[in-house]
Every structure is written in structure tokens, then in C-alpha cells.
């Protein structure tokens, strides 16, 4: 399954829907993760908050290919996209293992094929480097075999990237 998460606004939904099996628009109309771990320990892969992200980890978990389109925010995803990623930790299990010679959680849905992070907006060289490193860390953490990081300075070139 191909999943796209984006924060570009509603006007891009039409374009992006044709490129994936599931589209998640980061509109910010949901609460941030409370760090309670109940999505591991109480009701697995389900958040206690009953908003649009309540079961988002089940969608992200089934993605063979995950495309994340986000504005740059100091070398990170923008707050709305990061919120979705924070609320997706249920894609892993509470038990631990080693991956990339570091401690990580075991994966609930197994390994995934590709994560493609597309950053846009004003960015410095340091931020680009940080964002790329963050994507690399997320790929390892969420169990993606391959990583692609792309920066686009013009949103019109988005279609050719995906």
C-alpha cells in the first residue's frame, strides 16, 4: 500500500489522491501525542484520543511505501506532520530489540519497503542536513528498508517527485 502524508493544503488533495492508496492531510485538527504509551499497553495500535488520528498507526503500519511531504521547520517536519508521526508509534511493539546497532522497538507490521521524505519551504544547508538525518533516523526507527530524501524549492515540481 502506498500512503502519502502531506501538509500542503486541501487544494493538493486531488493531485495526490491519484498517486496513492491512502492520503492523510496534516490539517492540524487533532491533538498532540500525550506520551502515555496506552497505544502499546492498554489498547494496542489505537490512541485513547478519539480524533482523526486515533488509528493512524494502523494505516502507516500497512504502508509498503510511505511518502511524507512537509514544510521545513528548523530541519524537522512541520508541527502538523510531526504530530501524525508522533501519534504513529503504535506501528511498533512495546518490546525492544537492536536495529542499526542501537536499541529500537520491535515492529508490529514487519519491515516496510520505502520511506520518501519530501521537504519544501525556506531551508538552510544545516537544516537540510538535519532533515535528511531525521528522515534516516525515522526510517530505522519505523523499519523502512530504503530511504529517499528530496528537497524541492518549487512546489510545482512536486508531481515529478512522486
Amino acid at each position: 500500500m502506498r500512503v502519502i502524508i502531506h501538509d500542503l493544503g486541501k487544494q493538493y488533495d486531488g493531485l495526490l489522491k491519484n498517486k496513492c492508496d491512502c492520503l492523510i492531510r496534516a490539517d492540524g485538527r487533532y491533538a498532540p501525542c500525550q506520551g502515555c504509551f496506552n497505544c502499546w499497553t492498554k489498547h494496542p495500535a489505537r490512541c485513547f484520543m478519539g480524533d482523526s488520528l486515533q488509528e493512524v498507526c494502523r494505516i502507516v503500519g500497512r504502508a509498503d511505501e510511505l511518502i511524507i511531504i512537509s514544510e521545513n521547520c528548523y530541519g524537522s517536519y512541520g508541527p502538523n506532520v510531526k504530530n501524525i508521526i508522533d501519534r504513529s508509534i503504535g506501528i511498533s511493539k512495546p518490546l525492544s530489540t537492536y536495529r542499526g546497532r542501537q536499541m529500537h522497538h520491535k515492529l508490529r507490521y514487519g519491515m516496510h519497503k520505502l520511506i520518501h521524505v519530501i521537504a519544501y519551504g525556506a531551508i538552510t544547508e544545516d537544516e537540510k542536513e538535519t532533515f535528511s538525518l531525521l528522515a534516516e533516523r525515522n526510517a530505522l526507527n519505523f523499519g523502512f528498508e530504503n530511504l529517499q530524501f528530496t528537497y524541492i524549492d518549487n512546489i510545482d515540481s512536486l508531481e515529478s517527485c512522486i
Binding site: Y74, G75, S96, H104, R108, D126
Partner: protein, 243 residues
């Protein structure tokens, strides 16, 4: 010298961030303000505190290799606020992750460094802590052990008239020593940074962890989550299965 500590944990009580903030606070002298950012509703209050401040210490959990989303939103607000009001601040960070390697906080540190560069603030460094959840549990165990000691003193005193039971105090001292040992790296670095904050000096970036071998940490962490999942019932709701 005014220092503002910002607890960025979304939790109202018993957060690991509050624990590390408390440790750092002991080494910082001068005017100290403690505040928190849990939601957008806290922004105004915190920004008011920052007026006239010299140092700001962000104390936060690591969320999926980076800064929690609600803090990214606050950082954007702070950038605008500092530009509009010509505010300059020294920025320090204490971040803690659940995994044992403190180095997993590296990206978070870089994000704060980039934030300072964009906002015209002075990046002074931070401490990245591994095994933050376990250290926080140790804090709670300290309270439990203290309660048990007081109870055993009371029982021993009432039953045998012995108000200083030697054995109970020896056990308590050993428990305390173990907790302090597990915290050794955190106390050393966080206090050292506290002294740097008091002088508004740059500190650099240091990584530390709970003082325990990694393989043992994983066993303890697995036991912890198993016990919690059993207690909360997740174990009976397809704990480890696909959903």
C-alpha cells in the same frame, strides 16, 4: 541573572522532564522561573516569562527521533516573538529518550541549533539523556523505598521499642546508592550544565544514559512494559499482533 526553565512534557505530573528539570535547578543560582508548555494555551504565559530573561532551558522528551509536535509550534511562535521584541536569549536543552543511547537525541539537538540560528538566539548546548523513562521510575521507587523505611521504623518501634532498626537502614542505604549510581552520568552532566547556565556560559553538547549495560536495560524495559501491559489489559487485547 534570570533563567526560565520550560518543561515541555505534555504530562501534568510525574514526567521524566520534570525530574531532570529538578536536578538541573539545584545547580542554577539567580532568579529562576519554572513554567511549562503543554498546549497552545500556554504560549502567552511562557512568552511573558521570557521577557527580561537571560537564559532559557528547554526540558523535553524525545518524540520519534525529534522534537514533539507541540513544541515545534511553540518554537515558531518564539521565533516571531523574539524578532518582534528584539529579545536575545541563551538557549540550553535537556532532552530525554526512552532508548538507552543518549546519542539518539542528536537530531533534536541539531534542530534546536538550527532554531537558534534562525531566531537570532544563542545556542549554548545541552544534555541528551538515554533511558529517561527508567530514571524517572527510579525517582518514584525512591519515594516507595522511603515509605517502606518509615513503615518498618514505625513497626519496629511499636512492636520492639527499637526506633532505629539497623537492618532497615542498611537496606535503604543500598537502595539509595543504586538509584544514585544509575543517575551518576545525568547528575554529573546536568549539574555541570546548571553551573554553566548560572554564568551564561556555553556548555556544548553531552550525551549520557542510565548507568546500566544495554542488554540488561532491554531486559528490564521489556519486563516493565510487560508488567504495565498486563496491569492495563493490553496483553489481552492482541498486545503484539497486527491490528
Amino acid at each position: 541573572m534570570k533563567t526560565v526553565f520550560i518543561n515541555c512534557s505534555p504530562k501534568k505530573k510525574f514526567s521524566a522532564s520534570a525530574h531532570f528539570l529538578g536536578i538541573c535547578r539545584l545547580a542554577v543560582y539567580g532568579d529562576v522561573v519554572k513554567t511549562n508548555v503543554r498546549s497552545k494555551g500556554d504560549y502567552k504565559k511562557v512568552l511573558e516569562h521570557l521577557k527580561g530573561a537571560d537564559n532559557t532551558v528547554f526540558v523535553l522528551p524525545l518524540y520519534v527521533d525529534g522534537v514533539p509536535s507541540h513544541i515545534l509550534g511553540f518554537m515558531k511562535e518564539l521565533e516571531n516573538f523574539c524578532r518582534e521584541n528584539n529579545i536575545t536569549l541563551n538557549i540550553y536543552v535537556i532532552s530525554n529518550g526512552g532508548f538507552i543511547e543518549g546519542e539518539q537525541n542528536q537530531v533534536l539537538m541539531k534542530i534546536f541549533e538550527n532554531f537558534c540560528a534562525r531566531s537570532g538566539l544563542t545556542w549554548c548546548g545541552g544534555v541528551g539523556i538515554g533511558g529517561g523513562v527508567m530514571l524517572n521510575v527510579m525517582r518514584m521507587l525512591f519515594l516507595v523505598f522511603t515509605g517502606i523505611l518509615l513503615l518498618s521504623v514505625a513497626i519496629s518501634g511499636i512492636e520492639h521499642g527499637e526506633w532505629l532498626p539497623q537492618q532497615s537502614f542498611i537496606i535503604y542505604a543500598k537502595q539509595l546508592a543504586l538509584i544514585l549510581f544509575l543517575h551518576a552520568g545525568v547528575i554529573a552532566y546536568v549539574w555541570k550544565m546548571g553551573l554553566a547556565i548560572s554564568k551564561s556560559n556555553k556548555f556544548g553538547i553531552r550525551y549520557t544514559r542510565v548507568m546500566m549495560p544495554s542488554f540488561l536495560f532491554i531486559i528490564v524495559a521489556d519486563f516493565f512494559f510487560t508488567a504495565i501491559s498486563l496491569f492495563k489489559g493490553g496483553m489481552f487485547r492482541g498486545w503484539l499482533s497486527e491490528k
